[in-house]
């Protein structure tokens, strides 16, 4: 197979002068070692490559993807894509392809992670499980390397590559579970034994639990919970398409959150997982979304930018119709330790993880979900024992308001929201109130 850059240029050449065009060629190497009941039961590896082509003929646009990268297949692929575009109505919001621009020189790629062997991941799994052989462990270790080449008919080119490694699992007693998550762009940064130990401790501490009555409680939310909140803010709020459609909560330059809260999207951090440009070839740059409680920015792709009369911020995800979303989000940490956060709680709950969160209304950010993998009662600043899982129905905007956000932890790290690892860096938070609407008994 040709190098990715050559393939992108080759496809662009096949389009010729007939249409505006942008080409993305992506190769993916992913290995995932999955375990349950304390042994490896599913162990997978994939090596794939595909080309994506978006063409516009006089404002008539089509997008096509293929994994058939042989020359004879590509001839037909390109011809079909151009023919498909010609049959479309004119798209009045077609923004044109990105002009040539300078791409940040980042290379967040670890060769050892890219070349990791199945046995290396299996060894991580063994360490996670060995942290407590009296418990039942389940989870996964994975390693991924993605390379990406972009070219468009305006003469813009970009190349990049990135890696990611994750150990993510639970330890279970007969009555409880605890979880731990670690993600980095390098496999060597992960400590599977430590993760297994954290999960085991949470499982043991919540093995004996009581069911609490639903109601409003103070809470200390773990980085995982805060990461899930950040995903909802990003997908339904900072997404400029949602804003243009009237479903976003965002009111730019207004104080919508606690002054303690700052959220940025920073693809240039040394530990950021990803590329220096988006799916449309637009360079990425750090962007402040919330500055000390004041909402500062939306994220744009070229389409939403065209509709809003601004420039793209480099957050195109592809032709999904969902709109632009930030994928290098950092909820800026404070300085409090986890113990200090708990110490401020007279009676409340420590939540390790959210589960199955779904939005009820994007404008108010009312979300329902459950707790999972370790929920604890805090009394007089110390953990008093385990609590059965609870359902909540809570506005995330109200949760992060000036009246409700008491303290921000200093423990920011990659946290696995329920929507996947490697997207959000987040700390723990201490909140004055959180609304639980049901327990295990309904």
């Amino acid at each position: 197979m040709r190098r990715l850059e050559e393939l992108a240029e080759h496809i662009l050449g096949l389009v010729g002068a007939e249409a505006e065009a942008e080409v993305r060629v992506v190769s993916n190497r992913h290995g995932l070692t999955r375990f349950a009941n304390s042994f490896i039961h599913q162990h997978v590896g994939e090596e794939t490559a595909e080309a994506e082509l978006r063409v516009a003929v006089d404002g008539r646009v089509s997008s096509s993807t293929t994994s058939n990268l042989a020359d004879e297949s590509l001839d037909r692929f390109v011809a079909d894509a151009v023919d498909a575009a010609r049959l479309q109505p004119v798209d009045p919001h077609w923004p044109g392809v990105a002009p040539p621009s300078e791409i940040p020189e980042i290379d967040h790629f670890d060769p050892e992670t890219a070349d990791a062997l199945p046995a290396e991941r299996a060894e991580m799994v063994r360490s996670f499980i060995a942290a407590d052989t009296g418990l039942r462990a389940a989870g996964f270790a994975d390693t991924q390397a993605i390379s990406f080449a972009f070219a468009n008919s305006a003469g813009h080119q970009a190349q990049g590559r990135t890696t990611r490694a994750t150990i993510d699992g639970i330890q279970q007693t007969d009555t409880s579970a605890g979880s731990a998550h670690q993600t980095s762009l390098g496999l060597a940064d992960l400590d599977a034994a430590a993760a297994g130990g954290i999960a085991a401790e949470l499982a043991h501490r919540s093995a004996a639990f009581v069911d609490l009555e639903p109601g409003r409680y103070q809470v200390v939310l773990s980085p995982e919970c805060v990461a899930t909140i950040a995903v909802f803010l990003a997908a339904y709020g900072f997404n400029a398409q949602a804003h243009l459609d009237g479903s976003s909560f965002v009111r730019l330059d207004e104080p919508q959150f606690s002054p303690l809260l700052t959220i940025v999207d920073d693809p240039l951090r040394p530990d950021a997982i990803g590329l220096g440009f988006d799916n449309e070839g637009t360079p990425k740059r750090p962007l402040t979304l919330v500055e000390q409680g004041i909402t500062r920015s939306l994220v744009h792709d070229r389409r939403t930018a065209h509709r809003a009369g601004v420039t793209s911020t480099g957050h195109a995800l592809g032709a999904s119709g969902f709109g632009p979303v930030p994928v290098n989000v950092v909820v800026t940490p404070g300085s409090a330790t986890a113990d200090e956060l708990a110490a401020g709680v007279e009676r409340g709950l420590l939540i390790t993880e959210f589960n199955y969160c779904r939005i009820l209304d994007p404008r108010t950010q009312v979300v329902t979900g459950l707790t999972r993998n370790g929920t604890f009662l805090i009394e007089d600043g110390a953990i008093a024992g385990g609590v059965g899982n609870l359902r909540f129905t809570q506005s995330f905007l109200e949760a992060l308001s000036e009246e409700n956000l008491i303290k921000v932890g200093g423990d920011a790290r990659y946290a696995n929201s329920e929507f996947g690892p490697g997207l959000i860096v987040a700390p723990s938070l201490h909140l004055a109130s959180w609304t639980f609407t049901g327990g295990a008994a309904g």
Binding site: L32, F39, E47, T48, S64, T65, I170, Y356, R372, S395
Partner: protein
């Protein structure tokens, strides 16, 4: 294609696998998205590749490549990956016996969706979104069509050679009205659309143009409707919401891989214990659930699953008692049950896993009209808006797009933001009226997430309207 798959299987066996199979998959997909009377996207994709499973000891090794010429090396890699699992071994995995079939299956199609001119499909999504967007108060109108064609060539080391051509079609539309403090949305035929096996005739049956104006007007009306009352009352669910209720609180709970703990870390487990199979009361005597991969036109209808087991109908709940599970060859053997033919993968590059087929509630003998007429006080809810359920599939909360008060046997006011919550067996135990076969419809769900790496499954859920007594509705934050 069989030759490519055979080479992969032989390489896996040469690498030490005690069993191996390979699927060569070619697929294409087309998606059209209209927005506010304009085209938003016209996407087409095609993929080809081979995925190889190798069983050694307690673990599957799986390798996939999009380079069909590398099938043999993928087979070797699958075996090597399975060998690496021996670092953390468990009990040996065995497969339940099934016939080694050589066969072919093709989805019956009246009108090839890929042969319908793109311009006709574009005109449809542009036209209905224009209709919806022209209703005063509508901010955003979407319409979408999706079509899939998948060819699978399965070869196993036990002699399977099966070719299938599956065609799936569907789509939908929605209209969103934006008020001062909240948004209201109405969808048709259901949220995220409806999908079937078959061709463009599926889309024509929906009659999107005939329903566009109505749902747009309902979305606007919802903005000024009173909120759903809070409290315990009788709940009537129209069939698409009941389909999702079945999916979440029955379909996932009866997956044998979840029951065995194989999905514990991500999707979760199940409140069901195999020791209670045949005895546990899941719901009222009106509750009869089957998993049936042979229903003509339903979304999860096929000839064979992805390990070559024939499509079949399996009783899941009979007269309210739990009697069956969703299984594959490995999980069925472990549990001592017959294999259900319910293992499928999301593409060539994913490991086949237990997946719902058409898990549906058999019809009763009533009708929606009779159910309403016999309800003194309650709420009728329609079209899912949100869904959430715990990791054992017990505690659920659903939101719907539209509600109607029911009083003294008649529909009353429209209510907004209707929600309900419950505990699975208690909820199903309160089922006391069920509409009949005339209102029974095979709803299709194209977005079921499960597994790591994540896989998106296409599942079917036939259902008719039903009533549940004493349900908590109007859950507020």
């Amino acid at each position: 294609m069989f030759e490519t798959a055979r080479a992969a299987v032989e390489a896996a066996l040469a690498g030490g696998a005690v069993y191996a199979d390979a699927r060569v998959v070619t697929s294409r997909r087309e998606e059209l998205l209209g927005r506010n009377g304009e085209m938003e996207a016209a996407d087409r994709s095609e993929a080809a590749g081979v995925g190889v499973r190798a069983l050694i000891g307690s673990s599957w090794g799986f390798a996939a490549t999009s380079d069909l010429e590398a099938a043999e090396s993928a087979g070797s890699r699958a075996a090597a990956i399975a060998h690496a699992s021996a670092l953390v071994p468990g009990p040996d995995l065995h497969l339940a016996e099934v016939p080694a079939v050589q066969d072919r299956y093709v989805t019956p199609v009246v009108e090839d969706p890929f042969a319908v001119p793109l311009s006709e499909k574009a005109d449809l999504v542009v036209g209905v979104t224009d209709t919806m967007a022209s209703v005063q108060g509508i901010k955003v109108a979407h319409a979408y069509l999706r079509f899939w064609e998948t060819e699978k060539y399965l070869v196993s080391s036990q002699g399977h050679e099966i070719h299938q051509r599956l065609v799936e079609s569907g789509g939908g539309m929605d209209a969103t009205a934006v008020g001062e403090t909240e948004t209201q949305r109405r969808s048709y035929p259901q949220s995220a659309g409806d999908y079937r096996t078959g061709g463009y005739e599926v889309v024509r049956e929906f009659d999107l143009p005939g329903n566009a104006g109505r749902i747009a007007e309902e979305a606007v009306a919802l903005l000024s409707a009173p909120p759903c009352p809070s409290g315990e009352t009788d709940l009537i669910l129209e069939s698409s919401q009941l389909a999702l209720q079945i999916h979440e609180s029955v379909g996932h709970a009866i997956e044998l891989d979840r029951i065995l703990g194989w999905e514990a870390a991500f999707a979760g487990t199940s409140f069901l214990d195999l020791g209670e199979l045949g005895r546990l009361r899941y719901g009222s005597e009106l509750m009869n659930v089957v998993a049936d991969a042979t229903i003509p036109g339903a979304l999860a209808t096929f000839g064979y699953d992805d390990e070559g087991t024939a499509a079949q109908r399996v009783d899941i709940v009979r007269d309210g008692v739990w009697v069956g599970v969703l299984s594959g060859r490995d999980s069925a053997h472990l549990a001592g049950l017959p294999p259900g033919g319910m293992v499928r993968a999301d593409g060539f590059n994913r490991l086949p896993m237990v997946r719902m087929t058409n898990v549906g509630l058999l019809p009763g003998d009533s009708s929606l009209e009779e159910i309403i007429a016999s309800t003194r006080s309650g709420v009728l809810m329609s079209t899912n808006r949100s869904w959430s359920i715990d990791d054992k599939r017990l505690n659920f909360q659903f939101g719907c797009e539209l509600g109607w008060e029911v009083a003294d046997g008649k529909l009353g006011r429209m209510v907004r933001n209707p929600t309900y919550t419950g505990i699975t067996p208690r909820f199903w135990g309160s089922l006391d009226m069920l509409a009949g076969s005339e209102e029974w419809r095979p709803w299709g769900t194209p977005n079921c997430g499960k597994g790591q790496p994540i896989q998106i499954g296409h599942t079917g859920h036939p259902a008719s309207p039903a009533r549940f007594r004493g349900v908590r509705v109007g859950v507020l934050g």
